[in-house]
Symmetry: C2
Subunit: 343 residues, 2 copies
């Protein structure tokens, strides 16, 4: 149907001009055109101007696929996130993009929950991406550690040696405890993330350690999975407890769970913080606008994204700065935490 000859004037789908077309029009070699594009200083002013005119005249646009093949790079970086629908990750991704775009890397985002192990692994192939930022600590990545430059952000994978950008989760949990204890709470409950998750473990350890250091009783720990709905279920469990066994303060491993909990106990006629203080983790945007506004631990999401991206760029560039980056968190005190009622 379509003619393959050099010119098919009738075809609506005229072939895009190539470097060679520009070169012909300008009366120079393709090498010179290429240099004008990527190394203008190597070219005489005169030649440069002729070429630039020809580029304009032809409407030439560089073909990135060809350049990338020649450079043996893909021009893409993949971020593997455990749950795209969690707003916690959006701002991290925006931070990455802000660093990657100027370095002319595309950011590809993939939701690992929605993918087979095989297709997740396929992202680690050098021909698919120049680098990988992994935000999911549950991935079986030991197998392809060598394939492609890789950095871990937020979560990490125990056996895997790769630079990590993270917060000090134990210290963050201790910060929450300090706040609650300062308000006068002695019985503190916790709703944890998924048991095998590294963040779950670090936050729980920090919590236990902080309580112990103050001679306070070990926390009541309820199971969760970071999701809203698991927080709601934790609310139901809290309500089902005999009144004198209900912790007066609950610390959650994620804001989403704290939201679910608050919704549930409020629906059942309880007041936060009068009946129970609630402390979240993450500081996602929405929690500042709830009633009560949520006290929480703020993670520097933009910075996490930016640092992870620039670390990866270093790695791709051959600089082996395999050091971990620990970013600071911030205790944000709002209205969901208050002194215990019965004291």
């Amino acid at each position: 149907m379509l003619r393959t000859g050099p010119s098919s004037p009738k075809s609506a789908r005229r072939k895009a001009p190539r470097l060679a077309d520009v070169a012909r029009l300008a009366g120079v070699s393709t090498a010179t055109v290429s240099r004008v594009l990527s190394n203008p200083d190597m070219v005489s002013r005169q030649a440069r101007e002729v070429v630039e005119d020809a580029i304009r005249a032809t409407g030439y646009r560089l073909n990135h696929a060809a350049r990338n093949l020649r450079h043996r790079r893909t021009g893409g970086v993949v971020a593997l996130v455990p749950d795209l629908s969690n707003p916690f990750f959006s701002q991290i991704l925006a931070g990455m993009s802000a660093v990657l775009a100027p370095a002319s890397y595309n950011l590809l985002v993939a939701d690992t929950r929605a993918m087979s192990a095989e297709s997740i692994l396929s992202y680690a192939e050098p021909s698919r991406a120049d680098g990988l930022i992994v935000l999911d600590g549950g991935l079986p990545l030991e197998r392809f550690e060598r394939h492609v430059p890789l950095v871990l952000a937020c979560e990490w994978i125990p056996g895997l040696s790769a630079p990590r950008v993270k917060i000090d989760n134990r210290a963050a949990a201790a910060l929450a405890v300090a706040h609650l204890v300062e308000l006068g709470h002695r019985r503190i409950g916790h709703v944890a993330g998924p048991p095998e998750n590294v963040l779950t473990q670090a936050r729980l350890a920090g919590l236990k350690q902080a309580l112990e250091a103050r001679g306070l009783p070990a926390p009541l720990v309820l199971a969760g999975d970071f999701s809203l709905d698991s927080g709601r279920r934790a609310g139901a469990q809290w309500l089902a407890l005999p009144e004198d066994e209900r912790p007066g303060a609950m610390f959650f491993a994620s804001d989403a769970m704290a939201c679910g909990f608050i919704g549930e106990v409020q629906h059942r006629g309880f007041s936060v913080p009068n009946d129970v203080s609630v402390m979240g983790f993450d500081d996602i945007e929405l929690v500042a606008h709830m009633t009560p506004a949520l006290s929480t631990i703020r993670q520097p999401r933009d910075a996490i994204g930016r640092r992870a991206a620039s670390l990866l760029l270093d790695l791709i560039g051959g600089t082996d700065t395999a050091e971990d980056v620990i970013l600071p968190v911030e205790l944000v005190i709002r209205a969901s935490t208050a002194p215990p009622r019965d004291r």
Copy 2:
């Protein structure tokens, strides 16, 4: 430093095996290896087995950049979203990915808020993406309409003829009105999106039309921009109104604004829905868990993403199904709407 010869055994960075390496080991031509990879039926069983062994032996992995260059495709589809941190979009993106991945297209996501017009336009170049899904109706896209297959989702660009996947925003607004009127409300207020936004206009038009059709007074309209914070400001405005001028029901062009509003009026001691009924739009995950749980209009986000992606695939494949797709919404009645108090 690095030897360029065919074998540099000392180098840690051994070159990845190519098709030619597999062919040599198998004792066949590269054409045959290529066929085994992409068209196994064209190859005799015997040859296929030899090649498959060689692939395993060498650990060969296909280079996608090379294949894509040859096929004159990039293997990528770009989604341009107006605000990545809005959870409304995440599930739409997940829907797209679910359709695109099996067709072996990568989904690249870019946040148009964070980009220059120039770099946004650069995504429409055929060498960067095989197609574009635009979720931002405010983009100056007339200029590159021709460059790359394109579909519009959620929002649309008036001058631009491209297939659209959307909901019936006017009908959705009418649905909200019907619910509120059925509860007994006659004075209905509205918090709109950004004035130039097409969704803002369609929803407002639907609202006005539905009120008019019932002989009810025109709505009080407050300015917003879909964000949480603009909803909070609308709350302050509502509170500042003389008591007898406050609409007893407020309909919001986004859930985020409804959340901001509720937060603000609750902080000031008012009750939803006792003092004011609140109706959102979108049904983002969190609003089911607030107190009160939000009544809203549910958009079929997963379906929007899937349909947009498959329409784009059709376009890329040359099928010109340039018809618009209108997806159904659903009225979700929860606890934030109730009959007016003084009636």
